[in-house]
């Protein structure tokens, strides 16, 4: 297990290094002169400002030196300076990250809470009306445009519950209730495809487990059905669910980035869209790098948890 953890950590480092190289090269891929494009929307461009920004971004050095300077800076928490506000990029991202992470986490918890009863219901009553309804819902849920669901929710709430604080963001520490009220709609919207995905996997893996020899043995020795289901079958059926949580998190983060626009939530999604409109490249790079790094690390933790829970995983 220790060798496995070490190997996965090394893999992680290689992937993060690759991610950092791509993010670094982003600005160099821009057709034309990045500096002039960045200043393009600004009216008072002087050659001095162009030269100063070029030098400030280190664009007058050889590319591997630029990368090295940038990487050592990043490792010290220096992601550069936001071109428009002049504030450190890391500060801007840290201010926006909590809202994004909160929706993501709440949506994952909600998805887990809903997919368990739904998956168990569908698998236990296989072929019943309930099963068919759950299966249809999961099929539609998987292809649901969550930003549309968000828009519909806003429509319904502004018509029938106009007093509900449907948009904006209040930190939890400032007003727990105000925070949760505003988080509720976007959380439900982005969690629906994840509920569908997890329910579907739990249903099919539970059906497989329920047909296995050890469950038949448990039944034939006279255990009651509840005990067979919850103590024997569900534990093994959960494992495929855990393996896909990493992938689901990727979809979830993608959904959150978009849903922030619908509910005017000041998270990293709105930050990066604003940065693109301003051609604020250091900020764009910072958001992509930080969010991807968080995603990669969480994915590794999920994988390790999976290896720890399921002793059958081969560490090769």
């Amino acid at each position: 297990m220790i060798a496995y953890v070490v190997r996965r950590l090394l893999d992680l480092l290689v992937v993060l290094l690759g991610v950092s190289i791509l993010v670094f090269l982003m600005v160099r891929f821009i057709p034309g002169d990045a500096v002039e494009i960045m200043l393009g929307a600004n009216t008072d461009i002087t050659p001095d400002r162009v030269a100063a920004l070029r030098h400030g971004l280190g664009l007058d050095l050889p590319i591997h030196v630029q990368y090295w300077h940038w990487l050592t800076g990043v490792l010290h928490g220096n992601l550069g300076t936001s071109i428009w506000t002049g504030r450190p990029v890391s500060e801007e991202i840290l201010a926006r990250l909590p809202a994004t992470l909160e929706i993501t986490l709440l949506a994952l918890l909600l998805a887990l809470a809903l997919s368990f009863p739904l998956g168990v219901l569908a698998a236990r009553a296989r072929g019943s009306v309930g099963d068919v309804v759950v299966r249809l819902l999961t099929i539609v849920g998987l292809t649901l445009p969550t930003f549309w669901v968000g828009v519909l929710m806003l429509l319904v709430f502004s018509l029938y519950l106009p007093g509900w604080p449907a948009i904006g963001y209040v930190p939890f520490t400032q007003s727990p209730l105000g925070n949760l009220a505003r988080m509720a709609l976007p959380t439900v919207a982005v969690s629906l495809p994840i509920v569908a995905g997890l329910t579907r996997i739990l249903r099919s893996s539970l059906l497989e487990v329920l047909g296995s020899d050890y469950v038949r043995t448990a039944r034939s020795k006279g255990l009651n059905e509840r005990l067979v289901l919850y103590k024997h079958a569900l534990r093994n059926a959960m494992i495929p669910m855990i393996t896909v949580i990493g992938v689901q998190l990727g979809y979830l983060l993608s959904g959150v980035v978009v849903i922030e626009q619908v509910f005017a939530i000041p998270g990293v999604g709105r930050l990066i869209i604003g940065a693109i409109n301003q051609r604020n490249y250091p900020l764009i790079q910072g958001v992509v790098l930080v969010v991807t790094a968080v995603f990669v690390v969480v994915n590794l933790l999920v994988d390790l948890a999976y290896a720890w829970i399921d002793p059958r995983v081969e560490y090769s």
Partner: protein, 282 residues
């Protein structure tokens, strides 16, 4: 591989797959025949016809400029279909090539290529697409390129695995022994064997590409106005949501139906083409 008649014969007995095929065909037909299906231009504005609810004249109502929602959805499908087909074709071709080259050459070529694919897979989908669009600038073609790049590693991994298996089979060694070239071995022996999973993945990827395209144009990074695109329609409809909710409702529904169609069809195809899954009910 099963003969065509067998494939469609079995598909006909898979009602969900058939429903998917029907939906997907309707979407593609709407995209191709759009201008013939509606006499109204999607760009024609009319002050008198603003904010009209669904009627015989405007089946799905009109928006804040008096533009016909149905006409805009039909034209929006052109963008959805063109961008997602372009993106998936690019990623399927490029990804399969990467996977096949990695499997055939092995060694450091394999390790390097698959490492690059791992790095691309490490980004959350929409974030990588946004980053690519930040570099290339917004627009329909660039959206197709962005989604194409994002999906490439999926096909590379999908092609590499089975290709490695096929390359280890005796008859491929035999082909090598009689002097068949690398290209010939890959085209004649490996490709036919990895065709089915790639076809299934292509259809399923179309379903998600439609959603990603809609998300990106919702964010304002996709096709630029005045060209109608479903995501942008939905985004702009929000300002008039309480006056003309039908625009928000129908543009989103159009996205859902397109994505659903390709998903169901892909799922049905997987059940038919993958013998190990045959008889499975999900």
């Amino acid at each position: 591989m099963a003969p065509a008649r067998g494939f469609f014969g079995r598909l006909a007995r898979n009602p969900v797959g058939m429903l998917g095929l029907a939906l997907a065909s309707l979407v593609v037909l709407a995209a191709v025949l759009g201008p013939l299906l509606t006499p109204v231009s999607p760009l024609a504005q009319s002050v008198l016809a603003r904010f009209q609810g669904p009627s015989w004249r405007h089946l799905l109502g009109t928006d804040n400029f008096g533009r016909d929602t149905l006409a805009r959805i039909l034209y929006g499908y052109r963008v959805s279909v063109a961008v997602s087909f372009g993106a998936v074709a690019l990623s399927a071709a490029l990804g399969s090539l990467v996977g096949l080259v990695a499997a055939y050459w092995g060694g450091w070529v394999d390790r390097l290529l698959m490492r690059v694919m791992d790095v691309l897979l490490a980004f959350p989908i929409i974030l990588l697409a946004i980053a690519v669009l930040a570099v290339l600038g917004p627009g329909g073609v660039n959206t197709a390129l962005a989604i194409g790049i994002v999906y490439t590693p999926i096909f590379a991994r999908l092609a590499r695995g089975p290709a490695l298996t096929v390359l280890s089979w005796d008859y491929v060694s035999a082909a090598r022994a009689v002097g068949a070239s690398g290209a010939r071995i890959v085209v004649r022996h490996v490709l036919p064997n990895i065709f089915a999973p790639i076809l299934v993945q292509t259809t399923l990827s179309l379903s998600t590409a439609i959603l990603v395209e809609a998300s990106l144009s919702f964010l304002g990074l996709g096709t630029q106005p005045p060209t109608p695109s479903l995501g942008l329609m939905l985004s702009q409809s929000r300002d008039y949501m309480l006056i003309s909710p039908w625009v928000s409702i129908f543009s989103g529904l159009a996205i859902l139906l397109a994505s659903l169609g390709f998903n169901l069809f892909g799922d049905g195809m997987r059940d038919l083409l993958d013998p190990t899954l045959r008889g499975r009910d999900v």
